[in-house]
């Protein structure tokens, strides 16, 4: 355990003194704020018009739900930048020899890196929470649904991080790790498209792997055990395979 905390502390130190984490947080803040501001502006405009027509306006459906979904897409773009260096850099700079000859378990290193990245993800979700706060200050959103959405994003992001860590353990090149991770995330994101035109088993199996359809339930405030298990199993599989990969690399 102490080995895990040592690795986690070191990763956090690196986040604090190198630009990569700041870039990720800054870009996330910028992009998510842009989404939020635009959705809010459209909603406000519709509200003003709605005063005349008596339309059916709902801040959850029109602002928070699409916002959470778009933030999921933003994570898809940004999290590869967090995970791509995690193992690739250690392998490239020779510090892997330090980690592997230290009296700590393989899992200590993997979990240390994973939870450090998860900490960074939580910073991003705190920024997201701020948007919920803004809406709650001026309106009455469904806070329970918003909390479930944030949990969904945490699980989605965690799954991305575990998969990214696995891919990073396969290469010494950060660029290769980054590109493969990004493309794989993209594939996982669009995997449910075949369901739209095919009712075959294959389409449904592939569709089930889509991270999007599972996120949709969360953003609508539906907490389904099946979705939680889906993301958790991705996380466990990613971390476990990383451990196997490190073992076989010897």
């Amino acid at each position: 355990m102490s080995g895990m905390f040592a690795v986690m502390r070191k990763e956090w130190k690196t986040y604090l003194i190198t630009p990569a984490a700041y870039v990720v947080v800054a870009l996330f803040a910028f992009v998510s704020a842009f989404f939020f501001y635009n959705m809010l502006a459209v909603f406000v405009m519709q509200s003003l018009n709605g005063g005349f027509g008596g339309g059916n306006l709902n801040v959850d459906v029109q602002v928070l739900q699409p916002l959470m979904f778009d933030i999921g897409i933003t994570l898809l773009f940004l999290l590869p930048m967090v995970t791509m260096r995690q193992y690739a850099e250690e392998a490239n700079s020779g510090t892997m020899e330090l980690l592997k000859t230290a009296p700590i378990r393989r899992m200590d290193v993997i979990l240390g890196k994973f939870f450090a990245a998860l900490g960074l993800l939580i910073v991003l979700l705190i920024i997201t929470g701020f948007y919920v706060g803004v809406v709650a200050h001026y309106g009455a959103p469904d806070l329970r649904a918003a909390a479930i959405s944030l949990l969904g994003l945490l699980l989605l992001g965690g799954a991305f991080l575990a998969i990214g860590l696995l891919i990073s353990s396969f290469t010494k090149s950060q660029v290769v790790a980054g590109v493969i991770t990004f493309v794989l995330f993209l594939v996982l994101w669009i995997a449910d498209w075949p369901v739209a035109y095919s009712s075959g088993t294959a389409a449904h199996v592939i569709g089930y792997l889509s991270v999007t359809s599972h996120l949709q339930n969360f953003t609508q405030g539906i907490l389904d055990l099946k979705d939680v298990i889906f993301y958790l199993s991705l996380i466990v599989a990613g971390l476990f395979l990383t451990a196997r990969r490190m073992e076989l690399a010897e």
Partner: protein, 329 residues
């Protein structure tokens, strides 16, 4: 302290290390010698548990590294060929991280880091970022990291590679200081390096053991005769004739002339002949400018050792030794 028992490491069809066995007693400095590509780094990695051996076992303090990894690794300090440093951290931050990895208890951590910095003369740069330090300092940070937790076994992979002469002397001095408290294994491809610091030398080639002995014994065992080099100002044919006539000189060979000073190489039966050589040259009124014994280089020792080996252990002449000479030219 360290037992390497019949260890082999295969990478597919390639045998990086084959059936290697040697031991190191507590407090001993053992040099691990061989040309580039002989399997030195692989062996170091097998000892430190970075790689598992394909066959055989490595035992540290009686603990099998493969099966009792955590306990064995606590007893090992390791400086890989490339110092395993994080360029973005300061020396202090890095060593604190290493102390945590090595499970130095939190109360002793500051002391351990301070002591390691003291011993490796890093105090002046403790708060500087490692990425901004010179190669010599990084190497010292690597050594500090290895001795931080007072390991019983210290494994140093080419600790002086890439350092300037002064840093090499400082590093050797440091290694000598470390002996006694630690068992030290140093890999190198330079014999003088091993001769300067080690009590015992293990020579390997193509992954297999060639010889284990003290540096003095190795050079001694290999030459039945001594070679000396001589620089004399004077008439070349007369000097050659005189040298050849001295009793105990087995062979006198003129090598070259530079600025009226001739250089000769003599093979002599014993060291005592040197005095007679000096007396006769000075007695003849010629100018004796230099007289020195020539030690065998690693290349020569290596070639003579492998030449005597039975077929099968060494399949081909060692190209690495030649390649090394080529690089030096």
């Amino acid at each position: 302290m360290l037992e390497v028992c019949n260890v082999s490491k295969d990478y597919g069809p390639f045998h990086a290390v084959r059936d290697l066995s040697f031991t190191a007693a507590a407090g001993e400095i053992v040099g691990f010698l061989g040309p580039n590509g002989a399997g030195k780094t692989t062996t170091m990695r097998l000892i430190t548990g970075y790689l598992p051996p394909t066959r055989g076992e490595v035992k540290v303090d009686g603990l099998v590294v493969r099966t009792n990894a955590l306990e064995a690794k606590r007893r090992i300090g390791y400086l890989p060929e490339v110092p395993p440093v994080y360029p973005e951290l300061t020396v202090n931050e890095y060593l604190n991280f290493c102390a945590r990895l090595r499970r130095v208890p939190s109360r002793q951590r500051q002391d351990a880091v301070a002591r390691a910095c003291q011993r490796t003369a890093l105090n002046d740069v403790r708060h500087r970022v490692i990425g901004h330090l010179s190669k010599g300092f990084r190497q010292r940070v690597g050594i500090a990291q290895a001795i931080l937790h007072e390991p019983q076994l210290l494994v140093l992979d080419e600790p002086t590679a890439g350092l300037d002469p002064r840093q090499i002397l400082e590093t050797r001095q440091l290694i000598r200081e470390l002996a006694g408290q630690h068992t030290v294994i140093i890999s190198t491809h330079i014999l003088s390096e091993a001769a300067a610091t080690c009590e015992r030398v293990v020579i390997i080639n193509r992954g297999a053991l060639v010889a284990v002995d003290s540096p003095e014994n190795l050079t001694h065992r290999l030459k039945s005769t001594d070679t000396i080099e001589l620089q004399v100002r004077g008439p070349q044919p007369a000097i050659t004739a005189l040298l050849g006539a001295i009793e105990g000189v087995l062979k006198a060979e003129f090598s070259h002339l530079r600025q009226e000073v001739g250089t000769w190489q003599l093979e002599v039966a014993n060291a005592g002949v040197r005095e007679e050589v000096a007396r006769r040259i000075v007695g003849s009124g010629w100018g004796l400018l230099e007289l020195r014994p020539i030690d065998l280089s690693l290349e020569e020792i290596f070639l003579s050792l492998t030449a005597n080996q039975p077929e099968g252990q060494v399949e081909a002449p060692p190209p690495a030794a030649d390649a090394e000479k080529g690089v030096q030219l």
